[in-house]
C-alpha cells in the first residue's frame, strides 16, 4: 500500500471480480456475511425511502454506493473496539449484529428507540453488541472524541482501537484538525476513516479542499495516510486491518481515505439532480460496490442464484418486519423530555415537567405538527 498521493487508490477486487494473487483474509462465512450486510443496507435504504415518501418517518439518508466502505471497515474490527460513526454508516452497525429493529425504532423515534425519540432519524446510539457512539449532527465534533477514547484504551494498556468515520466535508471542520494533531502527538490507537463520497451536500470534494485528495492531510500531523478504493470490500478490509494492527502495536493513528461515491441524494430531502452531473453518476454506477463484491463471490464459487434469492428475501423481509414493529410501537411519554438531562432530575425540571402534565390535564395535549425536514 502506498502513502503517497496522485496514485490510484489501493484496490484488491478488479472490475470483473478477480483478485489476482491476493490472499483473502476473511473466511467464506465472513465474506457471505459482508454481502448479506450490504444487501441489508440496501433493503434498509429502500424501506426508509418509502416510509419517508409516505410521510411515516421524517427523514433518512441513503447509503447507496458507500456500502463497501462501511462493511469492509467493520469486518476488520473486533466487537471490543469503539466505533464513532457518522450518520451514513448503517452497514457498520448491521455487520456487527445491531438488529434492524433497533435501528428502525430510531427511524420512528418511538418509545423503544435507544434515545427515546429525542434525536432525528439516523442518529443512532448503541452499546450492544458494539460500542457505536451516539451520533451528533454537528459535523466533525466526534473526531477528537474518538482520539480521547483511544487514549483511554492506550492508558489502560488495552489493545482495542477507536474508529472514527466522517466525510470529505468533515475534513474542513475544526474537529478534524484538532483530532489529527492530538492523535499524532499521542500516537493514539485511532483509525480515521474519511469516506470521500464526492459531495458534502451540494459542495463537490474539489471545492472542499485544494489538496490532492484527503489522505495527504495526515502528513502534516505525522499521521500516515492511505487512499483506498472505497467500493472494494477487500481493499477496505485490508487497509483497516493494517491500520488496526499498527494501532494495537502502539504505532499510532492512520488516516484512510476511502474513495467512493454517493449514488443517492444527501438525504431524503435533497434533490441531487440539481447539482450532480449525470455522466459522473453513470460512471460510478458501473463501479457499484455490491455488484463488484458479487462478481468476486462468483469467482470464488461462493455465489449462487439461490444464495442471492435467500439473502435478498431475508434482508427485505427482515427490514419490513422491523419497520412494522417499530411503526406499531408507541411514542415516548412526555416525561422523556425531562429525563436524562442530568443523572438526577433537578427541581426546576421537575417543576417544568409537572406544569406540562398539569396543563395537558386541564387544557388537553399539544397537537403534533407536520413539519417537513428540508435538508
Amino acid at each position: 500500500m502506498q502513502t503517497t498521493q496522485s496514485t490510484e487508490p489501493f484496490r484488491v477486487i478488479s472490475g470483473d471480480g478477480s483478485v489476482g494473487n491476493h490472499q483473502v483474509a476473511l473466511t467464506d462465512e465472513q465474506l457471505v456475511h459482508c454481502y448479506r450486510t450490504m444487501l441489508t443496507v440496501r433493503a434498509f435504504d429502500d424501506v426508509c425511502m418509502k416510509l419517508q415518501r409516505s410521510g411515516r418517518i421524517g427523514f433518512s439518508v441513503p447509503n447507496k454506493g458507500v456500502e463497501a466502505c462501511q462493511v469492509g471497515a467493520a469486518s476488520a474490527l473486533r466487537q471490543t473496539d469503539f466505533f464513532f460513526p457518522s450518520y451514513r454508516d448503517f452497514g457498520m452497525a448491521l455487520y456487527h449484529g445491531v438488529q434492524p429493529v433497533e435501528m428502525m425504532h430510531n427511524m420512528f423515534g418511538n418509545a423503544k428507540d435507544s434515545a427515546l425519540g429525542r434525536q432525528m432519524p439516523v442518529h443512532f446510539s448503541f452499546v450492544e453488541p458494539i460500542k457505536f457512539f451516539s451520533i451528533s449532527s454537528p459535523i466533525g465534533t466526534h473526531l477528537p472524541q474518538a482520539v480521547g477514547a483511544a487514549r483511554a484504551f492506550q492508558m489502560r494498556g488495552e489493545d482495542h482501537v477507536a474508529l472514527v468515520s466522517f466525510g470529505d466535508g468533515g475534513t474542513s471542520s475544526l474537529g478534524f484538525h484538532s483530532a489529527l494533531n492530538f492523535a499524532g502527538v499521542w500516537k493514539a490507537p485511532v483509525i480515521f476513516l474519511c469516506q470521500n463520497n464526492g459531495w458534502a451536500i451540494s459542495c463537490p470534494a474539489e471545492e472542499q479542499t485544494a489538496s490532492d485528495g484527503f489522505a495527504i492531510k495526515g502528513q502534516a500531523y505525522g499521521v500516515p495516510g492511505i487512499k483506498v478504493d472505497g467500493n472494494d470490500v477487500l481493499a477496505m478490509h485490508q487497509a483497516v486491518s493494517e491500520a488496526a494492527e499498527r494501532a494495537r502495536r502502539g504505532e499510532g493513528p492512520t488516516l484512510i481515505e476511502a474513495v467512493t461515491y454517493r449514488m443517492g441524494g444527501h438525504s431524503t430531502s435533497d434533490d441531487p439532480s440539481k447539482y450532480v452531473p449525470k455522466e459522473i453518476l453513470d460512471q460510478w454506477a458501473e463501479k457499484d460496490p455490491v455488484q463488484r463484491f458479487q462478481s468476486f463471490l462468483k469467482q470464488k464459487g461462493l455465489w449462487s442464484e439461490s444464495l442471492e434469492a435467500d439473502l435478498t428475501r431475508e434482508a427485505t423481509e427482515g427490514i419490513s418486519a422491523a419497520a412494522k414493529e417499530a411503526e406499531a410501537t408507541g411514542a415516548p411519554g412526555l416525561e422523556t423530555i425531562f429525563s436524562d438531562v442530568y443523572a438526577e432530575l433537578p427541581a426546576h425540571l421537575r417543576a417544568q415537567g409537572e406544569a406540562a402534565f398539569d396543563l395537558a390535564r386541564r387544557k388537553g395535549s399539544a397537537d403534533a405538527g407536520d413539519g417537513a425536514f428540508p435538508l
Binding site: G117, S136, G169, L174, A368, G369, G371, F373, L375
Partner: protein
C-alpha cells in the same frame, strides 16, 4: 405590490442589496447552485456569478472568520450559517472577534457584516436542527441581534442589517419561512433596527414575543379576545439593541405581562425583558410577569410539539395573568 413568503422576502432582500452595492457578497454552505438548503439564496449565483455568491468548505469558523476580514477590507459579506445549531464552531469568531473589533481598535477597524441563520423548531429536526440560541448572542456586546417575523420585516430588517456599520446576527424563524404570503414592496426599503412592532392593540395584557412565536401569540390573543381579554401583542424584532422605552411603555399600558419565546427559560431572553420591567416600573405591575418558553432541556424530536410553546400554553398564561 408582490406578495411573498418570508423566505422569498429574504431572497428578494439579498438580490436588492447585491444589485445596489457591488461589495455585497453572499457565501456559506450550499448557498450557490443549490440555492441553500431552504432556498433562501436561490438564483443568486445565476444572477451575480460565482464571485459574489458561492459555496464554501464545511467550516463555520472559516465562513465567519473570512467574512470579518472581508468586512474589515471594504466588502459587505452576508454569510449564511446553514442552521443556527451549527454556528458554534464560529462562536469564537463572532463573540471574540466580530463583536469586539470596533472596541478593541478604538474604531480603526470594524466588521460591517451580516450572519444569516435559520433558527427554531417545527420541522422535526431534533436536538441539532431546532435550537433557538439567541441568548448566547444577546449576551455579547458589539453584536446586533435581529429576528423578523413577517415577510415585510424580513426584507426591511435584512436591508437595514446589511447597511448597518456593525456586525448583525440575523436569525430567521424557519418555521415561518413558508407560513404565509404578504405584501412586500419592490426595491430598497429598510425597517429601523431597535424599534419594536405593535402587532395588535389591547388594554388587558401585554404579550412580548418575537420570531416564530408571533403567530402563535396572535392566535392565543384571538382566543383570549373571545373571552373578553384583550391583548396587546408586541414583536420585539430587534433583540439587541432593544427598544427599552417601547417595552416599558407597552408593559405600563396594561400592567400585566407575558413573555413568550421558544428558547429555554433559564437565562433566556425573557429574563431580560422581565428584569427591565421589574427594575423600572414594578409599581405599575398588576400581576407577576409570566414567561412561556421552551423547557430547560435539549430540544426533543418526536415530542417537539410538547416542547414548543403553543397557543394552549400561551393562552393559559394570558388567562392567569389577566385574572390575577
Amino acid at each position: 405590490m408582490p406578495t411573498l413568503t418570508l423566505i422569498q422576502a429574504v431572497n428578494d432582500g439579498l438580490k436588492v442589496a447585491m444589485r445596489q452595492d457591488e461589495s455585497v457578497l453572499v457565501f456559506g454552505e450550499d448557498v450557490g447552485p443549490k440555492g441553500g438548503v431552504f432556498l433562501a439564496t436561490e438564483g443568486l449565483t445565476a444572477e451575480f456569478g460565482k464571485e459574489r455568491c458561492f459555496d464554501t468548505p464545511l467550516s463555520e469558523d472559516g465562513i465567519v472568520g473570512t467574512a470579518i476580514g472581508m468586512a474589515a477590507n471594504g466588502l459587505r459579506p452576508v454569510c449564511e450559517i446553514q442552521f443556527q445549531d451549527f454556528i458554534f464552531p464560529a462562536f469564537d469568531q463572532i463573540v471574540s472577534e466580530a463583536a469586539k473589533l470596533r472596541y478593541r481598535s478604538g474604531g480603526q477597524y470594524t466588521a460591517p457584516m451580516v450572519i444569516r441563520t435559520p433558527y427554531g423548531g417545527g420541522i422535526r429536526g431534533g436536538l441539532y436542527h431546532s435550537q433557538s440560541g439567541e441568548a448566547y448572542f444577546t449576551h455579547t456586546a458589539g453584536l446586533k441581534v435581529v429576528i423578523p417575523s413577517t415577510p415585510y420585516d424580513a426584507k426591511g430588517l435584512l436591508l437595514a442589517s446589511i447597511a448597518d456599520p456593525d456586525p448583525v446576527l440575523f436569525m430567521e424563524p424557519k418555521a415561518l419561512y413558508r407560513h404565509l404570503k404578504a405584501d412586500v414592496p419592490e426595491g430598497h426599503y429598510t425597517v429601523d433596527l431597535s424599534t419594536l412592532r405593535q402587532v395588535r392593540e389591547g388594554d388587558d395584557v401585554t404579550v412580548f414575543c418575537y420570531g416564530s412565536m408571533v403567530p402563535v401569540v396572535e392566535k392565543a390573543a384571538n382566543k383570549a379576545a373571545e373571552q373578553g381579554i384583550h391583548c396587546q401583542v408586541v414583536d420585539l424584532r430587534t433583540l439587541l439593541p432593544l427598544d427599552e422605552q417601547g417595552v416599558l411603555e407597552a408593559a405600563r399600558k396594561t400592567g400585566r405581562v407575558v413573555v413568550v419565546h421558544e428558547a429555554p427559560r433559564f437565562c433566556g431572553y425573557g429574563a431580560e425583558i422581565s428584569a427591565i420591567i421589574a427594575e423600572n416600573i414594578i409599581e405599575y405591575m398588576e400581576a407577576p410577569i409570566r414567561r412561556v418558553t421552551g423547557f430547560d432541556t435539549p430540544f426533543p424530536n418526536t415530542l417537539e410539539h410538547h416542547y414548543l410553546p403553543d397557543e394552549r400554553r400561551v393562552l393559559d398564561a394570558i388567562e392567569e395573568v389577566a385574572k390575577y
